[in-house]
């Protein structure tokens, strides 16, 4: 909502400064978005005449105009507007002027070799309208005698742009804002005297609101003005509209706009001669069409509220009029409409047709239903004054009566909610200044809600009104008490937090990427899941929710490779989605590493990152998080975006059916498809929802501290075993030979090749043997050795390598 202080002062008697105004507006909840300072520089803009135009010698689209601005000498101005032609009256900005729109100060400047003295302005550059196509064209009759004079005769008042919250339609009118300000002690609200219409002429155009189900029009007031002469608006009216950034059109249109902004009372003006046999307000039928003032043809759905006549649709009630019945400069008879439309109906229709207008904006928020007559009278009187003619009596058709709202307000609620103590007298005064009728009882007020406040329906709304006007700044802070009665994080949140930081300590940089992604990339990682489409994506490459943590991460990794990085480690911890319903999501920690380790190192041999790097990262992280490594089960079943031979999955223990993590090389086909250029790319995913909370909390986790001081023995073994045999299984078999004596089993060599059959490999292990209660003798050790060899050979078919 744009206003000026000058306009506000028509309703408000005040001597406060504009700065005070701006602070007060914000204090009472009418947030000031911006203040556009209009400086005295506007005096520099002059009415001028284009004497002659020539094509610019060095630029096809530019012209060199000779401009008369009332001095003896003319000036040359380079101009790009297509409408710059000989004889045109326009607005000239000499060097030194500041263009209101972009705040650019003009200087004498050479443009492609021709010196230009100032500029010819478009309406948009002067903030007169949005019209940026071509320079201003001034009316010849009006301006031909004014060449060289200032175009802006009056100093403009600063433009204040307010962000009015949707609950306050009353403040979409200047008077409503003035009322709020006056209530808050900022000046005095002036009376709003409206002359009565004394006419005895009947309003001859018949209006009928059909009583249909869901009829969107509740009341339709009208007034007919006959024999008018539509003209350009007088200066005061034009200045007023220009001052808030609106473009004057003709007196009749300008007056309806003026009343709308002044009182928040939208009106519509019809050329009465174009209405065929009266107006019927009805619901549309599916497929009906009409051409609206936005010059588009709209095809309607069933049940939209339309204003129609015998020939069809004249307009969409409360949203937009049609071209067929619009007023023009030669309009003789005007019908002014002042109606009340149901906000929900307005909103539904405008959403369906995607039309946004000033009227729609106001009606959908709720117009004062009792302002129908006031608006008609104000507009009709103005039209008569400016355009002459005769005014008819006012006709108001309605299908429902406006129901007054009453609220019984228990006064103690105010203090209970706000923590503020103020007297009943003060409360009563605030409310009556806002327009409430207050009837004071002992503990409560009986309040009649003003008709312009559709937002106020219950007691809490009253509390807000009082605090808002009294001042939020008067509320005293109550310091919070430092007491914690519940743990801040639950166990799952603690694991999230722990894994996030644990993986970062291993060199991964945390990334946060969108929860949505490109379906083309998602397809590579979604496995058997279905794409979850966003109906209205922000762009076609962010059109589905991600099914995998990799879809975005890999794309951003690739972007970093393009930036020249080679050895990257990125991770993200966040949601992935497996269905379109709330809760069909899982939290995943995914990481990717690319390139090499110890690249170009003088001391270490460089090598590519590999599956065992990520396996280490995953296992170490899980162990650090409190899961027992001895329980882990690893196999090689992985989704298709991993290298089929170089990837694995981890279960936390044998009995869990849910995968705790995947790790491995990313499938080379994916690198190819995404054009990822790196020596190696490995990754992992940890599924947080599949991790059970570690059984014991940290304080119970420590078992009895036991250790042995007896001598440890190390024995090495080498077994020749089937190539496909899983080394983990071998370790398990050996560990179980004697759980008390065998402390650890470690693979230190894998060998295939010479001296080993083709389908076999050699695994060399080191076994640590130690007793808790004695030093083992050679015989004891021999026994264990033999048992190990025998068990392994028997259970696995391996043969000890001699």
């Amino acid at each position: 909502m744009k206003i000026t202080y000058d306009w506000l002062k028509e309703h408000l008697q005040t001597k406060n400064s504009e700065n005070q105004l701006i602070n007060k507006l914000t204090d009472i909840g009418l947030e000031v978005e911006s203040v556009e300072v209009t400086s005295s520089d506007l005096e520099k803009f002059l009415v001028a005449k284009v004497i002659k135009t020539e094509k610019h010698p060095n630029a096809d689209r530019l012209k060199v105009c000779e401009v008369d601005f009332g001095k003896k000498e003319t000036v040359k101005v380079v101009c790009g507007a297509s409408n710059a032609k000989e004889g045109l009256l326009t607005i000239y900005a000499p060097p030194g002027a500041i263009i209101p729109k972009n705040k650019m100060k003009l200087v004498v400047k050479e443009i492609r070799g021709v010196t230009s003295f100032g500029m010819l302005c478009s309406e948009s550059e002067l903030n007169l309208s949005d019209e940026s196509d071509g320079i201003c064209e001034l009316n010849k009759n009006q301006f031909k005698s004014k060449i060289g004079q200032r175009y802006f005769t009056k100093k403009k008042s600063n433009l204040i742009d307010l962000s009015i919250t949707p609950n306050r339609p009353d403040c979409l009118g200047v008077r409503g804002i003035a009322r709020d300000l006056a209530t808050a002690g900022f000046g005095k609200l002036k009376g709003n005297k409206i002359d009565k219409i004394l006419s005895k002429d009947k309003q001859k155009i018949k209006i009928k609101i059909l009583k249909e189900k869901d009829q969107g029009c509740i009341a339709f007031g009208s007034c007919l003005l006959t024999n008018v002469t539509n003209v350009e608006s007088p200066r005061w009216l034009k200045d007023k509209l220009i001052s808030i950034g609106q473009k004057p059109i003709s007196a009749i249109v300008d007056i309806t706009n003026y009343v709308m902004i002044d009182l928040n009372r939208p009106l519509h003006a019809y050329d009465a001669d174009k209405i065929q046999k009266g107006i019927v307000v009805r619901s549309s039928k599916k497929g009906e069409t009409f051409v609206a003032l936005d010059k588009k043809e709209h095809r309607l759905e069933e049940g939209m509220c339309v204003i129609s006549d015998n020939e069809g649709i004249l307009g969409l009630g409360g949203i937009i009029g049609g071209t067929r019945s619009g007023t023009e400069l030669n309009t003789k008879n005007v019908l002014i409409e002042s109606a009340y439309f149901n906000p929900r109906s307005i909103r539904k229709t405008s959403k369906q047709l995607n039309i946004d207008t000033d009227a729609k904006f106001r009606f959908e928020r709720g117009i004062d239903p009792l302002s129908i007559e006031e608006g008609l009278v104000k507009a009709a009187n103005l039209i008569k004054k400016i355009c002459g003619g005769r005014i008819s009596k006012i006709d108001i058709q309605k299908i429902n009566k406006f129901e007054e709202k009453y609220i019984n307000f228990e006064i103690e609620l105010f203090e209970k909610i706000s923590g503020l103590k103020i007297s009943n007298k003060k409360i009563s005064k605030i409310l009556s200044n806002l327009g409430f009728k207050v009837k004071e009882n002992k503990n409560f007020f009986k309040l009649k809600v003003p008709s312009w406040r559709p937002d106020i329906v219950q007691a809490i709304d009253i509390v807000e009104e009082i605090v808002r006007i009294y001042g939020y700044d008067k509320i005293n802070k109550i310091d919070p008490i430092k007491v914690r009665s519940k743990p801040t994080l639950n166990k799952a949140q603690k694991i999230f937090h722990f894994l996030q930081r644990s993986i970062a300590t291993k060199g991964y940089q945390e990334s946060i990427t969108w929860s949505f992604t490109d379906s083309k990339i998602n397809d590579l990682f979604k496995s058997s899941l279905k794409n979850i489409e966003i109906v209205n994506p922000i762009s076609s490459d962010l059109n589905v929710l991600r099914n995998s943590i990799f879809s975005n991460l890999i794309m951003y990794l690739n972007k970093n490779l393009d930036r020249g990085a080679k050895d990257l480690a990125l991770f993200e911890i966040g949601p992935i989605f497996h269905g379109p319903n709330p809760g069909e999501q899982a939290t995943v920690l995914g990481g990717l590493r690319s390139g090499k380790i110890s690249r170009l190192s003088w001391i270490e041999k460089e090598r590519e990152v590999d599956i065992f790097d990520v396996k280490k990262d995953v296992i170490q992280t899980l162990v650090e998080a409190g899961y027992g490594k001895s329980e882990f089960v690893v196999d090689n079943q992985t989704p298709n975006y991993y290298h089929p031979g170089k990837s694995g999955r981890i279960f936390l223990n044998k009995n869990t059916d849910k995968v705790a993590a995947y790790f491995g090389e990313i499938h080379p086909n994916i690198l190819k498809k995404m054009d990822i250029k790196t020596e190696a790319l490995v990754g992992f995913e940890i599924f947080l929802d599949n991790l059970k909370e570690p059984k014991k909390s940290l304080k119970d986790q420590k078992t009895k501290y036991q250790f042995s001081d007896y001598q440890k023995s190390q024995r090495d073994f080498a077994f020749i075993i089937d190539k496909d045999f899983k080394s983990q299984e071998l370790i398990d078999v050996i560990s179980k030979v004697d759980k008390d004596l065998i402390k650890s089993v470690n693979i230190f060599d894998i060998y295939e090749g010479e001296n080993i059959p083709n389908d076999k490999k050699s695994i060399a292990l080191n076994v640590t043997i130690q007793s808790m209660d004695k030093t083992l003798k050679d015989e004891d050790l021999e026994k264990v050795n033999k048992l190990i060899v025998d068990t392994v050979e028997k259970k696995t078919g391996a043969i000890i390598r001699s």
């Binding site: 909840g29 109550i478 519940k486 639950n490 480690a569 989605f577």
Partner: protein
């Protein structure tokens, strides 16, 4: 007797000289070898008559110890000097680079979430979560934002179905609904998380982060709200004084509603929070609307309280001087490295929020 003294003096003086290892070993064997001088003297003990025997043995032992000590000392010196000589040859260029390491970082948004959680933890809030995909009921209707209400225009919503029943949550407020529906009052929670609006420019991203706050109890009023947020902002920006302004606003799910601005100024191109006479909006809040409480079966006659919603990314930008919101989500490794935090920098109350 004089023999002993002679041996002692002779050999002590020998040991004064510069000797190498073999020379010392020779002295050692000359003295203590099988037929060494001292060894021979010991053999004499048996043949000495009683009155002198004891004294002789005692003197001999003293001399033996003295000589042995002198030899050990010499040996030690040689050992040390030999080690030193060896080490002299082992010198490396310590300015050569260390083995390579890679450094992980925590994203500034995650760090900020942890900072926020840490602050609210201190005053008794616990952390709740909710799903990213929400139904229209939890995101709007239950929050007193009925269909066809213009307030829905304030949120550009991503929908997952044509009927607009399933959507990506536009704020963290649905967590209020979820929390209150499944539990009994009082409630004192914060809910950080991802939120989505179909909007993208320098200051808007289609995904961003919010933290919701909710405190419902018997007598929680606007004074508590003001006190809580004032405490939070002071703690978060780690400054003693903060200029804060509560200004009336409108959210369908709170009433009265407020937006909170903090004072700032620009000094040498940097933003200074808490001073100056410019205002920056940082959060929205208010007293939970009785309709919302009714929707989750909490009796507004007995319970009341406040809620707030804070833009986490915005806070992180202000605190850590980050200019472009979109850069948060572009994953540029240089940016992550520059603005990220060491994983061991866990914000806690006892060691402070930030280093």
């Amino acid at each position: 007797m004089s023999d002993l003294k002679k041996i002692k003096d002779e050999f002590l003086s020998k040991l004064q000289k510069k000797l190498d290892l073999s020379e010392i070993n020779k002295i050692k064997s000359d003295l203590f070898g099988k037929n060494g001088l001292i060894s021979s003297e010991f053999k004499k003990i048996g043949s000495i008559a009683e009155p002198e025997k004891k004294k002789f043995a005692s003197d001999l032992n003293i001399i033996k110890d003295e000589l042995q000590e002198a030899i050990n000392l010499k040996l030690n010196q040689i050992e040390i000097s030999e080690i030193n000589q060896k080490l002299e040859k082992e010198k490396v260029d310590v300015t050569l680079p260390e083995r390579t390491f890679i450094r992980g970082k925590i994203h500034p948004v995650s760090q900020t979430i942890d900072e926020i959680s840490s602050i609210f933890s201190e005053i008794g809030f616990s952390v709740e979560e909710g799903p990213d995909v929400e139904n229209e009921h939890n995101n709007f209707t239950a929050l007193n934002t009925p269909d066809n209400h213009p307030a829905r225009d304030m949120h550009d919503t991503f929908y997952l179905d044509k009927n607009k029943k399933k959507l990506l949550r536009t704020h963290t407020s649905p967590v209020q609904i979820r929390t209150m529906s499944k539990n009994k009052p009082p409630f004192k929670i914060i809910a950080p998380g991802r939120t989505y609006r179909s909007d993208s420019d320098q200051t808007h991203a289609p995904m961003f982060h919010q933290v919701e706050g909710l405190h419902i109890d018997k007598n929680i009023n606007m004074g508590h709200l003001k006190g809580c947020l004032n405490y939070f902002i002071k703690e978060f920006f780690e400054i003693e004084k903060i200029k804060m302004r509560f200004r009336p606003s409108h959210f369908p799910f709170t009433e009265p509603s407020a937006e909170v601005d903090i004072g700032y100024e620009i000094k040498d191109g940097k933003i200074i929070i808490g001073e100056g006479n410019k205002w920056l909006e940082i959060l929205g809040c208010g007293m939970v609307h009785p309709n919302v409480l009714k929707n989750v079966k909490v009796d507004p006659k007995n319970y009341q309280g406040y809620a707030f919603g804070i833009g986490i990314d915005r806070l992180a930008m202000l605190k850590y001087g980050i200019n472009d919101l979109r850069s948060f989500f572009e994953c540029d490794y240089r940016w992550l490295n520059h603005f990220g935090f060491d994983p061991l920098d866990v914000p806690t109350n006892y060691r402070g929020l930030s280093r």
